[in-house]
């Protein structure tokens, strides 16, 4: 695993605008960064990332199975009681999932460690599945990269295939796709999924989350009053369950992507549960519910995170029992977990994080993100990768 400097394609920004990649620069900061790339060996990809990703995912599913069958765990995971049935029935019905992203700490050798599972609303999908694919194709074509350079990235192929399977499962020709207003990044991600669904022969109608309505018949509706029967939402379950229309979820009978059982997986309570069930697994970091962690955190370095949080908010660091707040924020009312601190590897001045994608239960590629701070925030840069 190396970080290789390289020459950006001279026309890449124009290309980005032609392909509708509008969030390569965000908040005045570069997000897509092709002044460098990461190079992996095939063995690193297959043995250290791909295989553990598949295994970690199966372990996560085992946790879901435990949790949906236990009222005390559902409570521990802060799933609102009136929605237990929603989460449980989506699991028992085997409602299909689309995708997820495991964040891994990996430095090129030794076991990758699971930091968290973005199982519900992962982004950086377009950059990974399409844009870095195009970067590789073009740099191979123009001779900048070796002809046999490859990339761990079958995301688009697998997403299209998965949409075909989902269409068949629910016997549908159409679905809705939704995200919040005022975010180019989320809208871009959803547009990409609309493109993938269209490639699979599915008609994908877009509606903003805020525009979803409820009809006299109990169904959710789009702005044309058409019923929403099947819907991909880039919006977290933990919000949906607690908002006003949450009460209507049960009777609206929507086939959601991701399905409601993902509310268990995208929850940081997953991490202590994994450690309870698979303690000592080489790809896991020791982790505890914070109210069960007194003994463990008395020594060593730990990260404390809320059950639900985004953008790295409300994170503290615990050093030999002493707590230091790293970031403030609005989260934490549902409780916290602690996780053994595992430093991100550094390449030059950069802290590097691997996002390992799954489409359903199949590993489908990686994204590499860099940050100048040790705990990755949302302002990290996306850097492409190759296998050589």
């Amino acid at each position: 695993m190396f970080r290789m400097p390289c020459q950006p394609r001279p026309n890449w920004q124009q290309l980005a605008s032609e392909f509708g990649f509008h969030f390569h620069t965000m908040y005045g900061q570069p997000y897509w960064d092709e002044s460098a790339y990461y190079q992996f060996s095939l063995a690193q990809i297959e043995n250290d990332i791909e295989a553990p990703t598949a295994e970690l995912h199966q372990m996560c599913l085992a946790v879901v199975e435990e949790v949906v069958n236990s009222e005390s765990l559902l409570r521990r995971f802060a799933i609102p009681e009136q929605h237990w049935d929603l989460a449980q029935s989506s699991w028992f019905n085997a409602d299909p999932s689309l995708y997820s992203r495991l964040d891994l700490v990996y430095n090129g050798s030794g076991p990758a460690k699971l930091l968290e599972n973005n199982a519900d609303t992962p982004t950086s999908l377009y950059e990974s599945g399409f844009w870095q694919w195009l970067w590789l194709e073009q740099n191979v074509d123009n001779g900048k990269l070796a002809r046999h350079s490859d990339q761990f990235n079958s995301l688009q192929e697998k997403l299209v295939h998965r949409f075909r399977e989902i269409a068949k499962h629910y016997n549908i020709q159409q679905l809705h796709m939704a995200c919040c207003k005022d975010t180019d990044e989320d809208r871009g991600t959803v547009q990409y999924l609309q493109d993938c669904a269209a490639e699979a022969g599915l008609l994908a109608d877009f509606v903003f989350i805020e525009d979803i309505g409820i009809a006299d018949t109990g169904v959710f509706t789009d702005l044309n009053d058409n019923p929403i029967t099947d819907c991909f939402k880039l919006y977290p379950w933990e919000f949906m369950l607690r908002e006003e229309f949450g009460d209507a979820l049960a009777s609206a009978e929507v086939n959601w992507l991701e399905p409601a059982w993902k509310s268990v997986l995208s929850n940081k309570a997953l991490l202590p549960m994994l450690w309870k069930m698979f303690e000592g697994h080489p790809n896991l970091l020791p982790s505890y519910f914070s109210d069960e962690a007194d003994k463990a955190v008395a020594s060593g370095k730990w990260i404390k995170k809320p059950l639900y949080s985004r953008e790295g908010a409300n994170v503290s660091i615990l050093q030999d029992g002493k707590e230091d707040e790293l970031s403030n924020g609005p989260y934490g009312e549902e409780g916290f977990i602690v996780q053994a601190f595992e430093p991100l590897p550094t390449f030059g001045d950069n802290y590097t994080l691997i996002g390992s994608w799954l489409v359903d239960d199949m590993p489908a590629g990686i994204s590499v993100r860099e940050d100048t701070s040790a705990i990755t925030q949302d302002l990290s840069r996306y850097v492409p990768h190759i296998i050589l």
Binding site: T121, P122, D216
Partner: protein, 258 residues
């Protein structure tokens, strides 16, 4: 049961020309579900030249259709999609269907199946409640359907106006498996394009005037119509974004992807 490619000039029971006009006067894309592109064409496309070297095994997507991913200068979908929908709808199989304006009408045709006539009427009446066009005011409804053609309905979801069912279309009444029955409407309003014609709940206008009672219709026309939904409220999702976005930090606002 019918020739699926040429049914426009056949003589019906009344000896009239029976073009059912399925493809001419439907003002909504009521047959859009017949579009069954499964998208599989992509996999049959030739690989582009850049991938011409047969590589044993790659870890990346083998082929991505770049022209489909391009957002500027891309034309097509809609017109193409609509055209193919219409074609497939025109080729669909047809069924004999008859329109009755009362239960007794039906009983005259089926003296041995009186209960079925009653059941078919009940089915149509129930369907009318579920699928008929709805209006906020009597004026709007009568503008479309004519004076005294509308009734007020009160449900838990609110009060609104819908046209009276003017008739019901029945097909395969004696079929042991399943008969079809759906409500039909007509208009006496001079403002309406379907004045004195039969129209379904989802807006399909049959050719000929309301004296015409026998049709050959595509199976899609006999399928149950979608439930009509009146949106009572919007904005019940998305409030967490506003609440959580306001805590203010250097962090990015907006997106909730992880």
């Amino acid at each position: 049961m019918t020739d699926s490619t040429d049914n426009t000039n056949k003589q019906g029971p009344l000896g009239s020309s029976l073009s059912d006009s399925n493809c001419e006067s439907s003002y909504k894309t009521s047959c859009k579900n017949t579009s069954t592109s499964d998208g599989s064409w992509m996999s049959t496309q030739a690989l582009p030249e850049t991938n011409a070297e047969p590589e044993a095994k790659t870890k990346r997507s083998k082929y991505i259709n770049l022209s489909r991913m391009r957002k500027t200068f891309s034309v097509k979908p809609l017109a193409l999609g609509v055209a193919s929908v219409m074609l497939s709808a025109c080729g669909a199989e047809r069924e004999e269907a008859k329109i009755y304006t009362s239960i007794d009408d039906c009983k005259l045709d089926y003296p041995d199946a009186l209960e079925k006539c009653e059941a078919a009427y009940k089915t149509a009446a129930d369907e009318a409640l579920r699928t008929s066009p709805r209006f906020n005011s009597e004026y709007d409804c009568e503008y479309e359907f004519g004076p005294n053609q509308c009734r007020n309905v009160n449900t838990s979801g609110g009060s609104f106006f819908m046209p009276f069912m003017a008739g019901y279309m029945v097909s395969s009444l004696l079929s042991p498996n399943r008969y079809y029955s759906q409500p039909l409407y007509t208009s006496s309003s001079y403002n309406s394009p379907f004045r004195s014609r039969w129209i379904t709940a989802d807006g399909h206008v049959f050719d000929g005037d309301i004296r015409k009672r026998n049709y050959r219709v595509s199976k899609d026309q006999l399928k149950p119509k979608p439930t009509v939904n009146r949106t009572m409220k919007r904005g019940g999702f998305g409030s967490s974004v506003r609440a959580k976005s306001s805590w203010g930090s250097s962090s990015r606002k907006g997106g909730w992807g992880g």
